[in-house]
Structure formats: structure tokens, C-alpha cells
């Protein structure tokens, strides 16, 4: 993978096994070019946080990774498969290995917590025995400390609880990669730190690789192994939180000063 022209090299990483390799990806919506020759490698069991201004294409990037949007050009290799070339069946298969935590949780409001958690299980693994489904739902809810909410409806839960349930649904298939779209947005600082901790705990337990989009600098500091700055559609900076925090580049500094 070639290094983008404008990338500010802050720290060199040891070569590791890649979980996600994004090469020369372009994405535009009409005249608006959102991703322009974007390159990124996420290694196994690594937490990479993507920073960037609102509308800079962070959510578009992770939606391209999971195949909800199709990149116009370039390749996105996820666990050995190029997502941009996969058929619908191929995408369904790779999605069992990728979890996606939506910014607004995206829990099905017509279903109970149990049904929300069962949905991906029953869709991906149709031959799963009911006892196994129950056990997996129980385990997922215990992981987020909400085993008592099984029969509740999403509308009965608080913002923090909804985020935990959404995280439980994301983790229920035990994915190898998790994509988080602003996991702490809209939460109070205490709940946000609890979610940070939960993400780290689950990552250690299931050895997942993650891409996290966040504007919450405490969250970035707490959970990142690496931070990537998406600027003008490109990977502008790539390094640890500390190395970027100490950078003299004005485009990087503005995120850490705010």
C-alpha cells in the first residue's frame, strides 16, 4: 500500500497481521468527493480511532467497509475478502464477522430486547437451536450488565442502556471486527466512560479489531491504540494518541485543543 502524499508520519508501527486493508478508496456523492485516495491498515486486535470534522466522510468510510455503501474506486480487504467485489451472499457471509454499532443504536423499536438480540442470530445462523439462542442472548446481555431487560421494549430504556443493548447485539455473533460509529455521542460523561470501559473489556475478551469513529477526545484517549485523522478525504495523520497530541501540525492540533 502506498503512503498518501499528505500523510504526516508520526510513528512507525511494527508489521502485524492486517484485519482490514483499505487501498486507494474513492467515494463521491454527486459533485461532493468524500473519500479521495484513502488508505488505511487496521491490524488484528487493534483499536483504531478515526477523527475528522463532521461531514468529512468517517461514517461513509465504515459503511463502505461493511458494504452498506459501495466505494467508487479502490479496494477494501476485510479478513481476506475484497468487500467491493463481493456478491450479496458474499457480503452476508462476511457480515457475520463484522459488528456495527450505529450512532443512534438502531434497535428495532417494534421488538423486545430479546427479539433485537435474536434477530441477527436467527438471520445469519438459521439452524441454531432455541436453547443455544437463549444461551447466547443471556451471555450477550450479561456482558453488558443488563440481563434483567430481556423482555423490555427499547422505549423503556435509558440512553446508556440502549447503547449497551446495541453493543450486546453487535457482539452477539462474536465478530472479529467491530465498527463503532460515535459510541459515546449523546451520553453523559459518566455513562460515556462506562461505554469506553465496556468496549475495552469486550475487545480483550473476544480479541476483536475495531474502528471507532469519535469526536469525544476522552473516548479517543481511553480506547485508541492508533488515531487516524481523516482530512479532505485522505488519511492525513496516523499515530498514537500521544504522538498526535504533541504534533505541531495545525490541522491535527485543532482536534486536541478543542
Amino acid at each position: 500500500m502506498s503512503t498518501p502524499e499528505k500523510t504526516v508520519s508520526v510513528k512507525k508501527e511494527e508489521p502485524k497481521v492486517a484485519a482490514i486493508t483499505i487501498s486507494h478508496v474513492y467515494k463521491r456523492f454527486g459533485p461532493n468527493v468524500v473519500l479521495k485516495d484513502f488508505n488505511l491498515v487496521v491490524n488484528k486486535e487493534e483499536n483504531v480511532v478515526i477523527l475528522g470534522k463532521s461531514g468529512s466522510g468517517k461514517s461513509v468510510l465504515i459503511k463502505c467497509i461493511i458494504g452498506l455503501l459501495k466505494a467508487d474506486k479502490g479496494s477494501i480487504n476485510v479478513l481476506g475478502d475484497d468487500v467491493t467485489k463481493l456478491s450479496d451472499d458474499g457480503l452476508a457471509k462476511i457480515r457475520t464477522k463484522i459488528g456495527f454499532l450505529f450512532q443512534g443504536n438502531a434497535l428495532y423499536d417494534s421488538m423486545t430486547v430479546r427479539e433485537n438480540l435474536e434477530f441477527p442470530l436467527r438471520r445469519h445462523w438459521t439452524d441454531l437451536a432455541p436453547s443455544k439462542v437463549n444461551a447466547m442472548v443471556k451471555e450477550a446481555l450479561e456482558n453488558v450488565g443488563l440481563a434483567h431487560t430481556t423482555e423490555m421494549m427499547p422505549e423503556e430504556l435509558s440512553g446508556g442502556m440502549l447503547k449497551r443493548i446495541a453493543l450486546a447485539r453487535t457482539m452477539i455473533l462474536k465478530p472479529e471486527i467491530i465498527l463503532y460509529d460515535e459510541p459515546t455521542t449523546g451520553l453523559d460523561p459518566v455513562t460515556a466512560r462506562e461505554i469506553d470501559q465496556l468496549i475495552l473489556t469486550l475487545q480483550k475478551k473476544y480479541h476483536t479489531s475495531s474502528i471507532i469513529i469519535s469526536h469525544d477526545m476522552n473516548c479517543v484517549k481511553n480506547i485508541s491504540d492508533r488515531v487516524v485523522l481523516l482530512f479532505e478525504g485522505k488519511c492525513y495523520a496516523d499515530g498514537t494518541y500521544q504522538s498526535l497530541e504533541n504534533s505541531a501540525d495545525k490541522n491535527i492540533k485543532q482536534f486536541f485543543e478543542s
Partner: protein
């Protein structure tokens, strides 16, 4: 120029709806079918609409009879009241009014439900969970509306005719057997079949427009409201357009 812009928007929208309908046939009609969801939708769309369709049908039959009577009396053909009401209900008023009520209730409900799912990313979440939203959400709803509207229309027509019988009995005494004998004597297959067949198209239009508007909802509560509203408006207009085409078609076949 506003006229050019509106014309362009009209063709853009028509193209998008055609593309969406194409996706329904290419993706939504492929096995494996979502039978459980289809049954659930048939229950919601069909069974739960029955009270509204029944009530409006009853009132429609009653009012139509009460409105027609004075005119027929003035021409001295009051005895033809069951025949006229029967033909009017079965051929035109029953299917169209039921379809319009259905568009108002079900079209708006589908538009708002899917619009809300779209803006809260539930449709994306469904896709991530290995579910094709076209198959799970669109196909089930469109098939349910297509199947349920003809059934609701037949039931609505029957209730309307009963309303008409009550209407006839307000001013004179007519036995139920005599009334329905007269009605069924004047109605043939060429009246019933085209009316039922066109409701299949009405149902399809209500389903596909509701789903299209929901899937293309813009962000925010205003977007969802607008989707629900435009689903009803567009489906209602389409019902009249399909009705016009159906009349032309049946006329050309000599069925009228």
C-alpha cells in the same frame, strides 16, 4: 423555470419508482421467502383494516341509497334502486372508495414506519444482520397489500350492499331476499371480475408507493411525516389513474 424543474422532478420521481419496483421484482421475489413476516403483515394490513373498511362501506351503501332514491322516485323507477346501487357499488364505488380508505390507512402507515426505520438506521442494521430489506420489508408489505385489498373490497362491497338494504328499508319495506335477488340478478361476472382485478393493481400501488416513500425518507421527523403524507397522496392519484386505465381496458374488451 419552475415548469421545467417540475417536469424534470416528475420524470426523476417516475424513474426512481420504476427502479424501486424493478428491485422489488428482482430481489424481493426471489426465494427464500419471508413467510412469517408476510403472514404478520397480512394480519396487520388486512385483518386490522376490516373494521374501518366495513364501517365506511356500510355508511357508503346507506348514503348512496338515500341520495339516489329521490331521483329515481321522480322518474318513477324506484323499483330499480337495488339494481342501480348494486351495480354502482360492485363496479366502481366499492373498489375505489375501499382503495382510497386503504391508501389513507395503510399507505401512510407503511410510509411512516419505513421512513422512521430509515432515519433511525434500522434498515441499515437489518442489512448488517444478514437480512435483505427489500425482501423482508418491501416484498412482504407489497404482497400483503396486493392480496388483502381485493379481499377487503369484496367484504366491503358485501357490507355496503347490506347498508344499501337498510337504506331501502328506511322509506319502504323490502325483504332481504327480494333486495339481494334483484342485486345479484343484475350483476354478472363481467361486473365483478374487472372490479376485483383492478383492486389487485390498487393494492400493489398502495404497497409499492408506501415502501418507496418510506425508503426514500429524508432525515428528521418532518421527513417521516412528509413520506407518510406523500405516500397517501401519490397512491390515491395512482388509484384514479389505474381506475381510468381499467375502464378503458374493459370497454375495449366489450365488458361494460
Amino acid at each position: 423555470m419552475p415548469l421545467l424543474t417540475n417536469t424534470r422532478e416528475f420524470f426523476d420521481e417516475t424513474g426512481s419508482i420504476t427502479k424501486f419496483t424493478g428491485r422489488f421484482f428482482s430481489h424481493g421475489m426471489k426465494p427464500k421467502y419471508e413467510l412469517n413476516e408476510l403472514m404478520a403483515q397480512c394480519y396487520i394490513i388486512g385483518y386490522k383494516s376490516l373494521p374501518l373498511v366495513g364501517l365506511t362501506g356500510f355508511i357508503m351503501g346507506l348514503v348512496l341509497t338515500m341520495q339516489l332514491r329521490p331521483s329515481l322516485v321522480s322518474y318513477g323507477v324506484e323499483s330499480q334502486l337495488p339494481v342501480m346501487v348494486g351495480i354502482a357499488i360492485v363496479r366502481e364505488i366499492g373498489p375505489v372508495i375501499t382503495a382510497l380508505i386503504f391508501a389513507g390507512k395503510i399507505g401512510s402507515s407503511i410510509g411512516a414506519e419505513l421512513g422512521s426505520m430509515k432515519v433511525t438506521e434500522q434498515i441499515d442494521a437489518m442489512e448488517v444482520s444478514g437480512t435483505n430489506p427489500t425482501k423482508y420489508l418491501v416484498a412482504t408489505r407489497v404482497i400483503a397489500t396486493t392480496l388483502m385489498l381485493p379481499i377487503l373490497t369484496i367484504l366491503g362491497d358485501a357490507i355496503s350492499l347490506f347498508g344499501a338494504y337498510i337504506g331501502v328499508n328506511i322509506n319502504s319495506v323490502t325483504s332481504i331476499r327480494f333486495f339481494f335477488n334483484q342485486v345479484f340478478h343484475s350483476i354478472g361476472y363481467s361486473d365483478v371480475m374487472p372490479a376485483v382485478i383492478k383492486t389487485i393493481f390498487f393494492g400493489f400501488a398502495v404497497g409499492i408507493i408506501g415502501c418507496y416513500k418510506g425508503f426514500n425518507s429524508t432525515k428528521g421527523t418532518r421527513g417521516v411525516g412528509s413520506s407518510a403524507n406523500s405516500a397517501v397522496v401519490l397512491a390515491s392519484v395512482l388509484i384514479f389513474v389505474i381506475d381510468l386505465l381499467a375502464v378503458q381496458f374493459t370497454n375495449s374488451l366489450g365488458l361494460n
